[in-house]
Assembly symmetry: C3
Homo-oligomer: 227 residues x 3
Amino acid sequence: MSAILAVPTLIEVAAVTGGAISGALHASKRRMDLMGIGIVAICTGVGGGAIRDVILGNSVPIFLLQNYLLMAVIGAVAGYFFGKLVSELEPAIYVLDTLLIGVWVVIGAEKALALDLPYSAAVFLGLTTAIGGGLLRDVLCRNIPTALMPGQWVAASAIVAALFFVTIEYFTDARVMAETVAIVSATVLRALSARYNWITPDAVDASTRFRHWLGLGKKPQPAQHWP
Amino acid sequence: MSAILAVPTLIEVAAVTGGAISGALHASKRRMDLMGIGIVAICTGVGGGAIRDVILGNSVPIFLLQNYLLMAVIGAVAGYFFGKLVSELEPAIYVLDTLLIGVWVVIGAEKALALDLPYSAAVFLGLTTAIGGGLLRDVLCRNIPTALMPGQWVAASAIVAALFFVTIEYFTDARVMAETVAIVSATVLRALSARYNWITPDAVDASTRFRHWLGLGKKPQPAQHWP
Amino acid sequence: MSAILAVPTLIEVAAVTGGAISGALHASKRRMDLMGIGIVAICTGVGGGAIRDVILGNSVPIFLLQNYLLMAVIGAVAGYFFGKLVSELEPAIYVLDTLLIGVWVVIGAEKALALDLPYSAAVFLGLTTAIGGGLLRDVLCRNIPTALMPGQWVAASAIVAALFFVTIEYFTDARVMAETVAIVSATVLRALSARYNWITPDAVDASTRFRHWLGLGKKPQPAQHWP
């Protein structure tokens, strides 16, 4: 634990409730019922941490032990009854979300390091904590997962934060600096991507170039011009 | 454990096999193959308890230790070979299902309490046990989860049962009474909802009213009439 | 452990990387972005083993401890940058996949037996290890799971291998023979099914015949001919 993450309570309340509200709005767009909205809200709010804890597996997930479920239910109720008001607050949720990606990454990665897992596992679990809730929401709503499609740099910000975190941690062992850089870099990257409308790239194909580089394949013929 | 749940074997056989038959029928409607029908049947039959045990995580899930897999396979075979006969039995499966929602809720909630988890976790795990199998079935069949959509009071009956259970347990510590009330209330609520065709509500919007109550927003203007 | 599975490293590298490439190609067909391709590739490559380990639950999944994540990322990068080249290698991946189904089944089943779980659990976990990654891939890509639909004998080969494995293990305790028969039978069955274009059967309906056999129901009337 560290200076930054020693007082996470308010941050966690905001993150879980914000996630739950987002889940409730998605479910209500899908015309789900009261229970569907509640269940999707809970899965979105606590899902990332739950998947992480279930993968690690040797103790009861933290969302069952603390008041996470209660916060998620509050978010669900807000989404259920005050959908219109909450939609007007969407910019606020959005800002919150942007600020919190890095926090989730750091929480997940630190949990992995506390168990002496390798750095690759820390990156994986940081990413899982940050985007797992949204994935679960999209699977339950039968949407194609937005985090996986071209769009804003959500998952990309998370992986950048995770890589910064483990790199700094590895070379300097300065936990607070690693946390700060990770959280700030994720926030800045996501904010910049939103401001300048950067879209995450889909698959590029370097096959032809690579084949050339290997000396295989024929050169593309220049277009022939009739005289 | 308790008087009521001390002899759960027959109940569990019925519940797992019934769930598996329901899964097999769904998969066969989706034109899945032999293996697909088997896998979806198993996931529906043992899924709720499996998700609960996986979330709790510190021991091997009960469905691997007891004969749940065998029962689920029997249900799958019934659905595979005798789809038409089994469809005629659908009312029976339906009645069974109605009777058993509360039982699953109680089994899940008691498992949480046995681990000294908070009451919110007991409600969550009761609900998970009751509807997890159906959720898994719908995700694998790529249906939108029926438990989350407006329709019969399935998930709603489960949550009512769970709330009754933990409330009575909290105030009186009378386990048998808590179990009885939970099981009976779920059965009655679901039966009434089917009988009188109650549909679970989707999102309501109290935003405008709430804004008024806060003294914000303008009053809706009465329609103006020209003289 | 055994003679055959004592040196699994090369096999595992091939299997995880091959799975990841397959996931990356699926995701890139879905027009997912860089992160989506990476995440689906990782889930396909390590998913089967991860689900198995999460179900068993009492220790950290093996994919977090060893270099599985790295192999999966290599597969993802290959799929991301060299989609066209990799597609030309598809026959190779296919052959690899055919050879490896049985290996995954054996690894999963042995893990169950090492924990003294019943044989039904060994069959279940062998099947889970073999097809879990593909299921996860299809759920994330919002495809209907191919392993569950009529088509090539993938899941069917896996279950045959699992049944051979536990049967031989049960009767003879000859681990190496059980492994060999399981791996060879899965490979041969899948290869034959591909060669002769066998399609897995979907639901048959024996209801009418069964009803007759029970003496119930009326005989189908022969068509009446007017004189």
